[in-house]
């Protein structure tokens, strides 16, 4: 699905991430971990074309992101569900409308998908808030809404940046169960997190691999997790 080929990234100073070569295979479940500021968010942005590698290449669905124009990247993103670390919404639309936004953007028939929207919203525990505007949601509620929005198009790849940073442990497990189910259905999943308990819990349910960023390199984490 996503292939890093000696990719590197630098925001202008020194290289933040260097010499990354790995593949995220279809149906795989990856965790991405590393200290704060190590480049987890940056790596995810490389995966969905929000950033382009400053050296080497990143291929998404076998297309080199550096060769795609804006509209092609937009098309690609309709196949990738992204949960941003600082979840952003259209503040003038309701939660349900925000969750349904990718449907509108990709030209789907909304009427047919309304049931899906309601299902997803209720799975992330926000049925009661579906007509609230995002500014009236709590931090954890926004994170769950962002996850629902990332899943609504049933994308092939799901990239989630700290999706459980602001929710309690029970809710984290509930959200992970959803992601594990999707993974079993063949979706490729990458979750950036620093919560090692979370990683341990999932590891016991599905085969996962842990990518750890350390000293600018991405390493496959050992058995210590």
């Amino acid at each position: 699905m996503i292939t890093f080929n000696e990719a590197a990234y630098s925001y202008g100073g020194g290289e933040l991430l260097a010499d990354m070569s790995f593949r995220l295979l279809p149906g795989s479940f990856h965790f991405l971990t590393g200290p704060s500021g190590s480049g987890k968010t940056t790596l995810l942005k490389l995966c969905y074309g929000a950033l382009l590698p400053t050296a080497g290449s990143v291929a998404v669905f076998d297309n080199d992101t550096r060769l795609l124009d804006r509209d092609a990247i937009a098309k690609t993103r309709q196949r990738i569900g992204v949960v941003h670390q600082d979840c952003q919404f259209l503040d003038h639309l309701t939660l349900a409308e925000n969750v349904a936004l990718p449907l509108s953007v990709s030209g789907r028939n909304m009427a047919e998908e309304l049931a899906n929207v309601a299902d997803l919203v209720s799975w992330v525990g926000l049925s009661g808030q579906q007509f609230s505007r995002p500014p009236a949601l709590s931090g954890g509620e926004r994170q769950r809404a962002a996850l629902a929005r990332a899943l609504i198009l049933s994308p092939d790849v799901i990239l989630a940046d700290e999706p459980t940073g602001n929710v309690d442990w029970e809710m984290s497990l509930r959200l992970l169960r959803l992601l594990v189910e999707l993974n079993k259905m063949g979706k490729t999943i990458v979750i950036a997190t620093h919560d090692l308990n979370l990683i341990r819990t999932v590891k016991s349910q599905v085969p996962t691999r842990v990518l750890r960023i350390a000293k600018r390199r991405v390493q496959l984490a050992g058995a210590d997790l």
Binding site: D71, Q88, L93, S104, V105
Partner: protein, 302 residues
């Protein structure tokens, strides 16, 4: 409902959804409407001024007819000779369309305000008046003519006193041009303001664009929503401004119809069509300005 109709309605509905992603009102949107309105209002006035000046210039031009007078004072026997000489000179003067000696009756009419209608003109050593009309080119060399007249007919005096109206006509023409220039200026300022307002709106809505990008919206989807929103606002604002402007122009008390200068600023006859072009023109200007601003901003925020 035929399938085709359903398709059209579906597209409409999809567009409505796209429109909704732009936050509804907000001050930049109000600013766009207001700017378009105020500018349209001013444009109506400038247009009215320009049209009224044009009418004025035409009327003055008609009154003036590029005429001048030559007065020949001489003894009774010399008069006829000198009149003939003057007419001969005028014949060969470039810039003169026609020249004509006035009859006694005409001169009597001219003098009536001073002497009353019963003046015994025959008893008077009256000068002969010659009325001449310049060519529209206006290339009459007045000084040269004066010199030639002095040589050929010593009793002849060129009096181009009617020329005092010429600056009036020129001024009215200038006023008309000024009015048209203001319209261009006003529309230009409107385009600039709408561009800036759009860019301010886009900057204020950078997050909206970012979210739309995140969920995979293409440029056309984003641009469509913004451009439509802003063109529509400009159109509404301009329509309101034009209506108010027309109302104000109509309500301005007009000078009595005999008034020589302004017949009032009002629109007359087909000139009513001109101000009605302001709103669509504003919408077109707004459309262009918004589209350029949006696509530019999308390029920048890529």
């Amino acid at each position: 409902m035929t399938p085709r109709l359903g398709l059209v309605l579906g597209a409409l509905r999809a567009d409505q959804q796209a429109d909704r992603v732009v936050p509804p009102s907000g001050f930049t949107a109000q600013l766009t409407s207001f700017t378009a309105g105020a500018m349209a209002f001013l444009a109506v006035f400038a247009l009215a001024l320009s049209l009224a000046s044009g009418r004025l210039a035409e009327r003055w031009e008609a009154t003036l007819k590029d005429t001048a007078t030559i007065r020949i004072s001489a003894s009774d026997d010399q008069i006829a000779v000198q009149t003939a000489a003057v007419l001969a000179v005028l014949e060969t003067t470039p810039g003169i369309a026609s020249a004509r000696a006035l009859s006694m009756d005409e001169q009597r009419a001219l003098l009536a305000p001073w002497f009353g209608p019963d003046l015994p003109l025959d008893a008077l050593p009256l000068p002969q008046l010659i009325e001449l009309t310049e060519t529209p080119l206006g290339d009459l060399d007045t000084e040269g003519l004066r010199l030639r007249l002095a040589a050929e007919a010593p009793g002849a005096v060129l009096d181009d006193h009617t020329r005092w109206r010429e600056p009036l006509v020129r001024a009215a023409d200038r006023l008309r041009l000024l009015g048209l220039a203001s319209i261009v200026l006003i529309l230009g300022a409107m385009a600039a303001m709408i561009t800036l307002a759009t860019q301010a709106a886009l900057a204020a809505n950078a997050q909206v664009i970012e979210v739309l990008r995140l969920v995979g919206a293409q440029d056309s989807y984003i641009a469509r929503a913004f451009v439509r929103r802003f063109s529509l606002r400009a159109l509404i604002g301009a329509a309101a401004g034009t209506s108010l402007g027309l109302l104000a122009v109509t309500l301005l008390p007009g000078v009595e119809p005999a008034g020589a200068f302004l017949t009032g600023l009002g629109f007359q006859g087909v000139t009513w069509l001109w101000p009605l072009m302001i709103p669509p023109l504003s919408a077109v200007v707004a459309f262009g300005a918004t589209r350029a601003a949006t696509l530019h901003a999308l390029g920048r925020l890529s």
